[in-house]
Subunit: 425 residues, 2 copies
């Protein structure tokens, strides 16, 4: 275990809190949320502020061609070298999102680096921080961290646009001129041996820790993701003149299918979720029986085999429902994104850190995607969750008790020190 | 009963068919449907063609301030006077509608007037034809016939626009300049004593006659109409991080409610229908649990008490569903349009006419609205239905066997003659 005396091994919670408060002023919306879309003016403002905070602490900042930011402590005569322990998260947000999603992990990483400089511990590995670009998918989900795993091909980047059609290439050219993107966006892959381990602190964005009164979540895996659309095709008929028994009502079929989602997820078990967030009907007249109803599905599971089984059962249910309603059905699945298990060795270090701090902890999968799932392809990776009040996220209602935020940062600091101190993990 | 020898009392079916074929060229769409929105260029073309056909037959045509068209036979020394027997329908269509909805009743009315002139029967009442404006509701449903019952107030007409915002007043000014609207649109009410009876021939637009192989439908009532919207209000949550059991999914509540519509309609019975043709969800993200789902309802019944009970049961089901899903609900009903019973005396004349022609007939309500429901407020009114193939309407698939069309026109002619001959009905 760590050779460091644990007593002073905590962050400066007041400094972290002040940073979080300052950052929350950038991109603030009228409804009290935060809008910092990737590569936007607000994103640039948050980075300018963040870079200044790093420079104030004597830290070095460099960026790559996708504007990922790398923060390192200056090397001295006795500094460790070789594969580094990294921590970090992102500064961009969804539209009208919350103040902690991403920001917590990025500012806690900065705080840990500051604290390590102050403590001047005898570590055997470098500890660095990273801020990933476009985690939220303004142009592409987990865009920046993806570029660290494998260089994007130019044609991949050419295709990426915002929903309203603005191109990533134009955004990057603009950011390159401002100095935020340095080098080619197609040359961002990390050199082998760069990374020893990665740890990300994040809010849970779900209700499990809050509901159970647990201090710390030790993330076991990032769930796999399935999706696609189910189209039911019936017949448009006059709503007044067509008897109920002679209809081929595509919306009734879709509705019946949707009511089966909770039962199917429960049968799969193990934290399976299945959601429809989008439904479209045609022709869409108040007095016309629906001819075509298309529902968009999002379903997730931490285990690949059960995720595939979930997909199979959803398709079978859609098929059976269509038959019983006398309508046609077409299931168009998206490619399954497999679950990413996180390193048992890092989970163990996180648990030990929580225990040393007297904090309760719970193993749980992450239902949301995170940059950690990309970093896990490069080195042993772990995630630390802190409770989200009511499980709310991606909304102005997103909040965590500051005691929990401070606990999470302390667990992160101890985890980094352990990973940078010993030979294991 | 009629004092007329029945033998020659049939329409010229070939002439009617040729007229229907000619009219179907006006407003024809690429997919083989018909688009003649009220007060459009295509509507004006169809009226120009129709007026010429009337003039070719020596009939007189006048219009009112809403562009309703009135077609009369010229009065001679021995012509009957006093309250008249009217027949007619409309020439406008829904977008990409069928060739018979409205057109059949309007052209059969013309054919009956032509045939009466040829036969020169000794009638005791005038027989006239009418073409109502905007039956389909481009600006207002049953607009023209509504103006015959009661003058519109200027502020009522000022409010009427198409869905894309074009105003009725502008359309009427344009049509006034072209001579299609004559006089004030606020002065169209029929003088008392104008009407003795009204009969409208129409396609069923439903499957009952076609399915049972019946020649003629004798309409008993035009169903009452209820509607409104049901809003389910839950909570937006992350589709990945929120367990299925901790959601307030407004769409699942709405879907469960929709699956109950057929059962509720069946329990009410007597031809009850309940339809949802429009559903809206918010925020509408693929990975966000639906916070707000709004479904639009259309429900109908020929009996007012049961229509009210249907409305009550739908509201109760929405309420109970919301409770069981832990979401809020708001039911915003539209004002109920009561059913309109049609005159038993006219139904009897229609049945006798069908019997005399050896045609099978079936009493049935009309599930769709018709100008007849306005005329029924002025005089005894009846409707004659002919079979719609597969019950299809408001679509290019709308069709009827021409044998059925001819049968309907013959029943109409006999009915008009009876109503214009005897003292009853």
């Amino acid at each position: 275990m760590s050779t460091v005396d644990p007593t002073p091994l905590t962050v400066n919670a007041d400094r972290l809190r002040a940073d979080l408060d300052d950052l929350a002023q950038i991109g603030r919306t009228e409804s009290g949320g935060i809008s910092r879309a990737a590569y936007s003016e607000a994103d640039a403002q948050s980075r300018t502020w963040f870079r200044q905070r790093c420079q104030d602490a004597g830290l070095l900042v460099r960026t790559d061609g996708l504007a990922n930011m790398f923060i390192t402590r200056p090397a001295g005569p006795g500094s460790p070298c070789g594969p580094a322990v990294w921590t970090g998260s992102h500064l961009d947000t969804v539209p009208n999102g919350g103040r902690l999603d991403g920001a917590l992990g990025a500012l806690a990483a900065l705080e840990c680096l500051r604290r390590l400089s102050e403590l001047d511990l005898p570590l055997v590995r470098p500890v660095s921080a990273v801020v990933f670009s476009d985690e939220e998918g303004t142009y592409g989900h987990l865009l920046g961290s993806g570029g660290l795993v494998r260089n994007y091909r130019p044609e991949q980047l050419d295709q990426l646009t915002t929903r309203d059609g603005r191109s990533l290439i134009t955004a990057l050219q603009n950011w390159s001129e401002q100095g935020w993107a340095v080098g080619l966006p197609t040359s961002t892959e990390l050199a082998p041996g760069t990374l020893h381990a990665f740890v990300e602190l994040h809010i849970e964005q779900g209700p499990n820790l809050d509901r159970t009164g647990t201090d710390i979540g030790v993330v076991t895996a990032i769930v796999g993701l399935g999706g696609g659309s189910v189209e039911f095709l019936g017949r448009a008929d006059h709503a007044g003149t067509t008897p109920m028994t002679e209809r081929q009502d595509a919306l009734l079929a879709a509705a019946d299918f949707l009511t089966q989602l909770p039962g199917i997820a429960a049968e799969i078990g193990g934290g399976a979720v299945a959601t429809c967030g989008v439904i479209r009907v045609e022709p869409g007249g108040a007095n016309v029986v629906v001819e075509r109803a298309v529902v968009t599905l999002d379903f997730r599971h931490p285990d690949l085999a059960r995720l595939v089984e979930l997909s199979r059962q959803l398709a079978a249910a859609a098929e059976a429902t269509a038959v019983s309603f006398g309508v046609a059905v077409r299931w168009q699945p998206a490619e399954i994104v497999p679950p990413v298990p996180l390193a048992a060795s890092v989970q163990s270090v996180i648990r030990d850190a929580a225990d040393a701090l007297g904090l309760s902890h719970l193993p749980l999968p992450s239902g949301a995607g995170h940059d950690s799932q990309n970093l896990a392809r490069l080195a042993p990776t772990g995630m630390v969750f802190v409770p989200s009040k009511g499980g709310r996220s991606h909304s102005p209602a997103e909040d965590s008790d500051f005691a929990d935020v401070g606990n999470g940062a302390n667990v992160l600091l101890r985890t980094l020190v352990t990973l940078a101190s010993r030979d294991g993990a």
